[in-house]
Symmetry: C2
Subunit: 401 residues, 2 copies
């Protein structure tokens, strides 16, 4: 297959790196991004070819960094559905509210996209052992794809990471460790161990390919909305790779002339108990400070410091979007309400985005005639430990007596 992968580049200092060797951060400490030969791609590839391929993220292979078919690891990732939330739209006074359900990925979250591409590329580059800190879902996804690839995986997660994600990592055969503390404490353990044992570190944005997998959410949205993109896209923001990836996708499509209309307003939602990016946004800063005492029921966005903060802030500002917080009480109420009214059991992070849909309407970031798309990042069934209500035992075995 023709490859359009050109090089890696630093979005801060512009230094470039060869993509043919494993790379972590730029010398200047910034995450590296992947550059493609978009001019040649636009000339040689017809996007209708993508639509004719089987559903899933590898249909976009020309705009992905894996060149050999045997490294395009697949467990059926991508091709997630978009459906409408008409009852909630009507409650919030929105014309049209959509949800893209990333829970319908292998390992039940959008992390499968980053892992399919990240591990596939790691395999292509000959890496033998990977290690990462994780809030839970990324660990599960990378454990699944490294199992498929035959690569060793080491995962370190906070002790209070969701039980299902802990069990998944173990089931896939990853070396799975818990630490007392936050994902940042897990990150320290991983960094230290990688230096000592020579494992390749694949923490969020410490390698450039995960973002390319996440980018396919943007490519799918472009395809699913037939180029008429929603007015706003709301994304629960922890490490921020999803929002960075989608924004990269839209801009690559635009540069190739395949996307002509206006781009969506990118909206980053964080929990009030862990909102470094929202704080930076409000203070007009380009980078976020470490958020002290981070806490929220939504484990996936309990990320007190994100390497890609400046890229998230750029996407939010350039797109005319916003960054806002929601409380844990609001998250849990919306979570339960959505399941009971729309039949959608999403993850707590996705529920944060539902709350944000209401708020951006109140804030007039969008109007009553706008369409809004919520990204639900994971399957609700992974979080049943948060449910308070229980089924009722029929002592007599009958509903009638």
């Amino acid at each position: 297959m023709a490859t359009y992968l050109k090089e890696l580049y630093c979005p801060k200092c512009d230094k470039t790196y060869e993509a043919s060797r494993p790379q972590n951060l730029c010398e200047c400490g910034t995450p590296l991004l992947v550059r493609y030969d978009l001019g040649r791609l636009a000339k040689e590839v017809n996007p209708d070819v993508w639509k004719g391929r089987p559903e899933g993220l590898w249909r976009y292979r020309e705009l992905l960094p894996v060149s050999q078919e045997e490294n395009m690891l697949s467990l059926g990732e991508g091709g997630t559905p978009v459906y409408s939330l008409d009852k909630i739209a009507s409650e919030y006074g929105l014309k049209k509210l959509f949800l893209k359900d990333e829970g319908m990925n292998p390992t039940g979250s959008f992390k499968a996209r980053g892992a399919a591409v990240g591990v596939g590329r790691a395999k292509e580059l000959g890496l033998k052992a990977l290690a990462m800190p994780t809030a839970g879902n990324a660990g599960a996804a990378w454990s699944a794809y490294t199992s498929r690839a035959g690569i060793k995986m080491v995962v370190v997660m906070p002790e209070d990471a969701p039980l299902t994600t802990q069990a998944e990592c173990v089931a896939y055969g990853a070396e799975t460790y818990l630490v007392r503390g936050l994902i940042s404490d897990a990150g320290k353990a991983v960094k230290e161990a990688c230096a000592k044992y020579g494992w390749f570190e694949v923490a969020t944005l410490k390698e450039p390919y995960r973002i390319e997998g996440k980018k396919t959410m943007g490519l799918e949205i472009w395809e699913q909305f037939e180029e008429d993109l929603p007015s706003a896209i709301i994304y629960p923001t922890g490490g921020g790779v999803g929002i960075i990836g989608m924004w990269k996708a839209f801009n690559e499509l635009k540069e190739m002339g395949w996307l002509r209309g206006p781009l969506p307003k990118m909206v980053a939602v964080q929990a009030e108990g862990c909102a470094p990016i929202v704080k930076a946004y409000r203070e007009g800063k380009d980078k976020a400070d470490f958020f002290q005492g981070a806490h929220t029921v939504a484990a996936g966005i309990r990320v007190p410091s994100a390497l890609g903060d400046f890229l998230v802030l750029e996407a939010v500002r350039k797109s005319g979007g916003t960054a806002l917080t929601v409380t844990d009480d609001e998250i849990l109420a919306a979570w339960s309400h959505l399941a009971k009214t729309e039949g959608a059991l999403i993850c707590p992070e996705g529920a944060a985005a539902v709350v944000a849909a209401k708020k951006i309407k109140e804030m007039a970031v969008v109007g009553a005639d706008d369409s809004v798309l919520i990204l639900n990042t994971g399957a609700g069934m992974k979080y049943i430990e948060l449910l308070k209500e229980k089924a009722k035992l029929l002592e007599t075995g009958s509903l009638v007596n």
Copy 2:
């Protein structure tokens, strides 16, 4: 939209019923099936139209019983991926082994298909309250779709049904009850309560539309394999609706002239501790006896008596397939092995089908040049309580010390 739904009919006594009114069983106690005007459908519809629609089961709407668009309830069901298990194929001496992953459905199981169509049709017929016994996943699926439809749902499940499925039913707002005993005990409670309270009973095959949803697995396989169907399809068999549905799909396609090649051998797999259909198959019987003392780790196939047993046996025999058992130890070993070698965390029922792939090769039901398709009916992450291994706490917070 043009509807091709013609009538309901009894596959035993041939009596027909109007489809425009809610129906349970035939007078003779047999499940009713849906008949379409296939001759007219084949003339008026081009199957390419299906391929041009968004992924998911409603693309096959002309061959489904719901006629009004507003009743085509969607949470993104269907359109599940097929991927290959090359390492396992090589271990088992099979040329090609595929897995269709029904875990990537809303509520994490193939039951979403039956619920989308069953609840959609119930809404179309004006039903206000449904009730069912369930081993777990069907309850979760029907709770989700009744929530979306705004219909009351009552679910009764064995006390030892998987905790995740219990929690899902509650989360979707269904009235959820537990009984001490088997699904047959839950069935008694539901039957009695429906008679008393006027709820419509939607237990397996007690209404004719669930099977139409399951049928879409067969339609997708036909589409995904581009009419060149696998030599054998292995299905973990509890109530048996999946195997009945796929067989119905293949035969409807054949009758319309849209499927020309040979049909797959249909293979029913059950657990050694609960194998009524395998027993009947071995004894050359057309119906199965109640299986005493049913027990297996795979809750979804812990069904001691199935109304559709005769239809499963017919599909297995007419297709030249077989019915066989696997032990719980084999299930658990294959379950773990698949996650660790292929990166696929499936459900225990799906793992039973993996074991069966090995056995049908040994039994020469298929040869070394045949392709075999395993149906994984649900997501593995719903069964973490079965996992014995745990993540390891790093007391010092470091992997290096």
